[in-house]
Amino acid sequence: MEAGAGLDRTIATRDCVLRLDDFALNTSLGADLPRLEGRSVVLAVSDMTKAAAALIELDGLARRIVLCPPSLDMRGLDALARHAEADALVHDGDAPAPEASFDVVAACRLPLSPLEAERARRFVTEWVMPTSGTSGPPKLVAHTILTLTGAFQPAGAQRWATFYDIRRYGGLQILLRALSGTESLTLSTPGESVDAFLVRLGEAGVKHISGTPSHWRKVLMSAKAHCIDPDAVRFSGEIADDAVLASLKALYPRARIEHAYASTEAGVAFAVADGRAGFPASLVEASGGDVAMKVVEETLRIRSNRTALRYLGRGAPALHDADGFVDTGDVVERRGDRYLFAGRRGGVINVGGAKVHPEEVEATLNAHDAVRASRVFARKNPITGALVAAEVVLREGVVAREGLEAEILSACRAALPAHKAPSFLRVVAELPITEGGKLARHG
């Protein structure tokens, strides 16, 4: 990964601008840089531009980079380091180093300082990402720069942006795309509102923007949505339903609207740009190109040169089956010439023995004229074990009026089998979103 090359490209948050050309003669890691060569390095910094700077410098220099998500609990650092056989730590220069045992502890500091010796790039660095598991300790997923960048097509000089944090798979894809191509990149800033971010994207002339459907629903509700005029709008990380696809198309009629399927383990599998939810069944049947897909026990399995290598750690489960396929855990349903995503295998609500995927009910709620976003969850029940309950955020301009909740519920009962239709509905001002930009399903 060679950053720069005279295109005057930048990676910018609200508070900080990294010029990629500067890395030829400068470093964020100061005099510690040579001591990180060949190390297994835990990268735990709070700032996204610092993370970007350290990644630019550590690829090829370190044997392994463990990329910590922003929320990482520092008390878990020792266990994480042990599993990743880490012997070095890169942390924020402004705070004292966390208490954990490493051979090398280096501070990442911006602005850059002059490089004292040439930067060595002798390793095929392993990139390790902890997955945001819903239960238990995170799994450590190992990639290389080749598996991470396998899906890239040249895009030409443009300014890109993402709602994601670059320390998670979706955001890292965009960072690496910018670094390996000719694009500049604009990133969000902690504490920055969606409105303020959109204004900044507009001023920077950003043309290509990625985020989760939850991120994009916030844009749809923002008064600043017209500050941007994108060529390309990209969804990933959650199911993109017809309602959110159609709403974005109406808001940005000029833009190519694309939803991609990717996960930390399975890598980038495909992108669909026909404006409809799900994906053509022909993608599965035409397996044999650089991505092979199959549906086993209703879940999508993927094999490609972009899947992760393995899980790290002793006793870690296998990431691939015997034929090299990764089980995504995403349940799909065939409807005619299309596969639709039904939800996560583990996320099913059991209503008297009948299965309900919350995502399917959410898609039905989101299709209602008054609803922008929804969250469906189980309510415990002594008769059927559970019932379906929902919270909804109304569309911009829709005023909560008496009878609206009953009207939405009645539309669900007309569209869904009785056990899937919500029995309870509450209008809320906003829904909980995780740091990764996805709807928070627990709590």
């Binding site: 209503v351 008297g352 309510r379 029940n381 002594p382 008769i383 059927t384 019932l387 519920l409 009645s410 009962r413 009785a418 056990h419 029995s423 309870f424």
Partner: protein, 81 residues
């Protein structure tokens, strides 16, 4: 005050929402013949928990569950004493 009116209203609401035809409601009408299915009962019990603040199906220590409309009303009245 008895929960009778709240319960009868809730039964009618749930039946209407779920498109069920109710038998004429009387105290000796067996619940199984009322026209409500188990999903309707599940919704009814949850609604009554919200309306009355009681869920005797979860909290009651008796092993004998109500069989008729009259017993259902008594079940809730006992739970709310």
């Amino acid at each position: 005050m008895s929960a009778r009116l709240t319960i009868l209203d809730a039964i009618r609401d749930v039946a209407a929402e779920q498109g069920k035809t109710l038998a004429p409601l009387s105290d000796d009408l067996p619940l199984m013949e009322s026209g409500l299915d188990s999903l309707c009962f599940a919704i009814l019990v949850a609604r009554l928990e919200d309306a009355l603040g009681a869920d005797p199906f979860t909290t009651s220590e008796t092993t004998r569950f109500p069989n008729t409309i009259g017993e259902l009303i008594a079940f809730y009245d006992e739970a709310r004493v």
